[in-house]
Amino acid sequence: MIRLYAFVDGLRRLPDGLRVIRVEGLDAVVGEALNCDDQVQAALVHGRIIESLREHAEAVLPVRLGEDFADEAAVTAAVAPRADGLSGRLEDVRGCVEIGVRVVGEVSSSGDEPRDGAGYMRKRLEPFRLRNALEESLHAPLERRAKAARVAPFGAAPLILEASYLVSAGSVEDFADEAVELAAAWPRLSVTCTGPWAPYSFAEGED
C-alpha cells in the first residue's frame, strides 16, 4: 500500500523512503504505508514526516493519516479530480504555519445539582457566557492578526475553547506573545499555545 503524506511545492529535501508523484501539476509526497498497531505511534511517525516536509518546502498541505492506496495509479485517480482545489489551497498556505490555542478550565459550579429545567439552564449559561467572552477577548484579536482561523464549535469540559490560526512563518513568535498577553486577562484558566505546525486545519476548505 502507498501512503499519501502531503502535497508540496518548492521542496528542497525529501526524507528517506519517500518519493514524489506528479498529478496535474501537483507534487504529492508518498511512501510505503507502515503497519502500526499503536495509533499514537503511527500519528507521531506521520507527524514527524509532515513537519520535516514543512521545514524544507515553500508550501505544504498535510494529508490526514490513513490515506492509503493500492498503487500510484490509484493515487492519481483520487487526486486528479481534486487537483484544482488542492492547488488553490496549497497557494493559500504558502509560507504559512499553523498555531494552535487551547483554553482549559473548570467552570465554577453554582453548587447544587439543578432540580428543575430553569436551574439546569442557569447552570449551563455560565460556561456559555464564558466561552462567548473568550471568543471576543482572546480569539477575535488573534483572528484579526492571522491570515485565517478555525474555531472548534464545541468544547468538551474542561476544554472551553480550541482554535487554530494560519500565520506567516516569520510571525510565529510575535503571535504567540500576543496570545500569552491576551491570556493574562484570564488568570483562572489555562491557555496553551503550540506550534508551528504544518497547516493541517486549513487543508480542507470551509464548507
Binding site: A118, A183, T192
Partner: protein, 118 residues
C-alpha cells in the same frame, strides 16, 4: 519521546499546566481507533457514530436555546421546559452510553473520525 523535536512546540502557556498535561496524557489514550471490522465491534462502532451525532445535535440545540435565553427573548416557562428537555436528553444519553460501554471520550467531538468535519 523525551526531547523529540516534533513535540517541543509549546510556544507559550498560562495557568496550571501540570493539571492540563495530566488530563492530556489521559486523553491521548482515548483517541478512538478507526471503526473496526469484526462483528463484535461493528455494533459498538455504529452506536458510537449514532450517539456522537445525537450528542452533536443536542449541544447545538442547547446552545441555540442558551443564546436566546441570554438575549432575554424566552419566557420563564419556555426556559424551564427547555431545560427539562435537555436534562432528560442528557440522562438518556448517559443510559445509552452505558448500554454500549461508551465513555465521554468516545464521543468527544474534538477528537475522533468526525472531528475534522466540525
Amino acid at each position: 519521546m523525551r526531547d523529540d523535536p516534533v513535540l517541543t512546540k509549546l510556544l507559550g502557556s498560562t495557568g496550571d499546566l501540570d493539571g492540563v498535561a495530566r488530563r492530556a496524557g489521559g486523553s491521548v489514550n482515548a483517541f478512538p481507533s478507526r471503526i473496526g471490522a469484526d462483528p463484535e465491534t461493528v455494533e459498538r462502532g455504529l452506536a458510537q457514530l449514532v450517539l456522537t451525532l445525537v450528542e452533536l445535535l443536542r449541544q447545538l440545540m442547547e446552545r441555540q436555546a442558551l443564546r436566546r435565553m441570554d438575549e432575554g427573548v424566552l419566557t420563564d416557562d419556555e426556559i424551564d421546559r427547555m431545560g427539562e428537555t435537555f436534562m432528560k436528553l442528557a440522562e438518556r444519553m448517559d443510559e445509552l452510553k452505558a448500554e454500549f460501554g461508551l465513555e465521554d471520550e468516545d464521543l468527544n467531538l474534538q477528537l475522533g473520525p468526525l472531528g475534522s468535519l466540525l
